[in-house]
């Protein structure tokens, strides 16, 4: 699954993986600015089916922005995004709206709808957007809830859940749409330390089941375990892109090395 490109400049042109398959997602020359401030500068990379890509980088480097671009939540200033081989017309909300049912996303801030029960939160997308039959959706929901051991909270409101439970439900809500790609943006960053674990374990299980995922996280131990590929971003530029094992043992750039140092627990000098 892991591809072993070790390069500081991103490849240009669609790169088939070892199996010769086309990538699921392919990004070329992506540029994004807020006003004068260029946040992503010529970003290119591929993600293949079943691959887990971990995005690392200091605060403000553009990780969230990049991941939001991959779901069409931001307008972009240039470049090309290709999903399942087809180019997504830039900044076309209608095209993205259709794609979003195939790309699931979970945010850092709890994003369950507080006015709806857990069940209603999960059903909303499949029934109202995908227009699937409620019976079938409910059956799938029950399965997913059992999987995360939250069946008993089906009729609870988000406010009755702990932070970790909320994030697991948010993941279930995205999974209920049967996405082909999942995007995770620091989903454990707002959690109490004790709850971080239950969410990360769910994500590990997904990775083991070959879900294609792009993950932004500050949990280094988790990143090390889950990453097929690591992409290190700074100032909107991909500084390096390596297999997870290589990145954590011998990062290619000084910047990445000092970043890894700063993330290790205090006092390990």
């Amino acid at each position: 699954m892991a591809d072993n490109t070790r390069t500081t400049t991103a490849p240009v042109g669609v790169t088939p993986n070892e199996a010769g398959e086309e990538p699921l997602l392919s990004v070329r020359h992506l540029r994004k600015s807020y006003g004068d401030h260029e946040v992503l500068k010529d970003v290119s990379f591929d993600v293949h089916r079943g691959q887990v890509l971990v995005l690392l980088g200091p605060s403000g480097s553009g990780k969230s922005t990049l991941i939001r671009c991959l779901n069409g939540l931001e307008t972009i200033q240039g470049g090309e995004i290709r999903f399942k081989g087809k180019v997504v017309p830039n900044n076309n909300e209608r095209a993205w709206r259709a794609l979003r049912t195939e790309i699931g996303m979970v945010f850092q801030s709890y994003d369950l709808f507080p006015n709806l029960t857990v069940a209603k939160n999960i059903e909303l997308g499949p029934t109202k957007v995908q227009k699937r039959a409620k019976a079938e959706v409910d059956e799938q929901m029950d399965r997913l809830l059992r999987d995360v051991q939250l069946t008993e909270y089906k009729n609870a409101y988000p406010r009755e859940l702990s932070g970790g439970q909320k994030q697991r439900i948010a993941i279930v809500r995205a999974l209920a749409m049967n996405p082909e790609l999942m995007l995770f943006d620091e989903v454990t960053a707002s959690l109490d330390p004790e709850m971080v674990r239950e969410v990360l374990e769910l994500m590990l299980r997904l990775a083991k089941r070959h879900m294609t995922m792009i993950v932004v996280t500050h949990e280094m131990e988790f990143a090390r375990r889950v990453a097929d590929t690591v992409m290190f971003l700074e100032n909107g530029v991909i500084l390096e892109r390596q297999s997870g094992d290589d990145f954590f043992t011998h990062p290619a750039t000084d910047r990445a090395r000092s970043f890894l140092d700063s993330m290790s627990p205090v006092g390990d000098e």
Binding site: M105, F107, D111, F113, R159, A174, M177
Partner: protein, 241 residues
């Protein structure tokens, strides 16, 4: 200053002054005058709220022309005092419409338009106060603009709108005190009729009649304010929880 005025002869007149309220049908007349005021307020709200909700929702759209026009509409009502608005309608409405319009209708139209402007701002404010995270979460599920409005923005902002609307209702009721200036027989007009009819027997009627009307408005508007506050508090707790 008030206390220094409380000299002895006062107590004699106090008792007699209050009687005015209970002579003849005066009490019921005052209450029915108040009924007129509350009816005007009710009709104005009934007309103004739906219009305001639509305008408020339109103001969240991106169309710059529409937004500018609606903003101007709001600013007009923000700049013109309600009393002046009432006169504008009183003098201009019948002439422009070419039909007979009584004071009550004038008031309902004027207040209704004013209410719609205020409501549009309440609705817009509430709709855009829904956190962008929530809207993004809806978009990430593939929802369309209308679906976002219906499933995310509106349900998450009604509990902010309702207290504001109740507060506005109380304000509209209070503002109906201006009706006397356009010849509507409201509670104040009735009060003045009573003072005039009893000017010989109760020379201090003004104190009691105006005091009573003050009290009447208070017992209508205060509970509304309390309800609004309670709902506001609950909405805040919900949003945090």
């Amino acid at each position: 200053m008030v206390l220094s005025a409380m000299t002895d002869p006062l107590h004699v007149t106090l008792a007699s002054g209050m009687d005015v309220l209970f002579v003849g049908d005066n009490l019921t007349r005052l209450l029915s005058g108040l009924g007129t005021s509350v009816t005007v307020a009710g009709l104005a709200l009934l007309a103004g709220i739906p219009l305001g909700v639509v305008l408020g929702a339109l103001r969240t759209l991106r169309n710059p022309v529409l937004r500018a026009v609606l903003r101007l509409y709001l600013e007009f009502f923000r700049i013109v005092p309600t009393l002046v608005l009432l006169f504008l309608s009183y003098y201009i409405l019948p002439r422009e419409l070419g039909v007979q319009v009584d004071g009550v209708t004038v008031a309902v139209v004027a207040f209704g338009l004013w209410v719609s402007a205020e409501i549009s701002d309440i609705v817009r404010g509430a709709l855009i106060s829904v956190s962008e995270h929530q809207v993004d979460a809806g978009r990430a599920l593939g929802m369309s603009g209308l679906q976002l409005l219906w499933y995310v923005r509106i349900p998450q902002s009604v509990n902010l709108m309702i207290p504001a609307v109740i507060n506005l209702a109380a304000r509209v009721i209070m503002t109906t005190s201006l009706l006397l200036l356009i010849s509507v027989i409201d509670v104040v007009t009735v009060g003045q009729q009573i003072m005039e009819a009893n000017r010989m027997t109760h020379p201090d009627a003004a104190f009691w009649v105006y005091g009573f009307i003050f009290f009447l408005y208070f017992i209508i508007c205060w509970p509304l304010a309390m309800i609004a506050r309670a709902l506001e508090k609950r909405a805040k707790e919900r949003n945090n929880g």
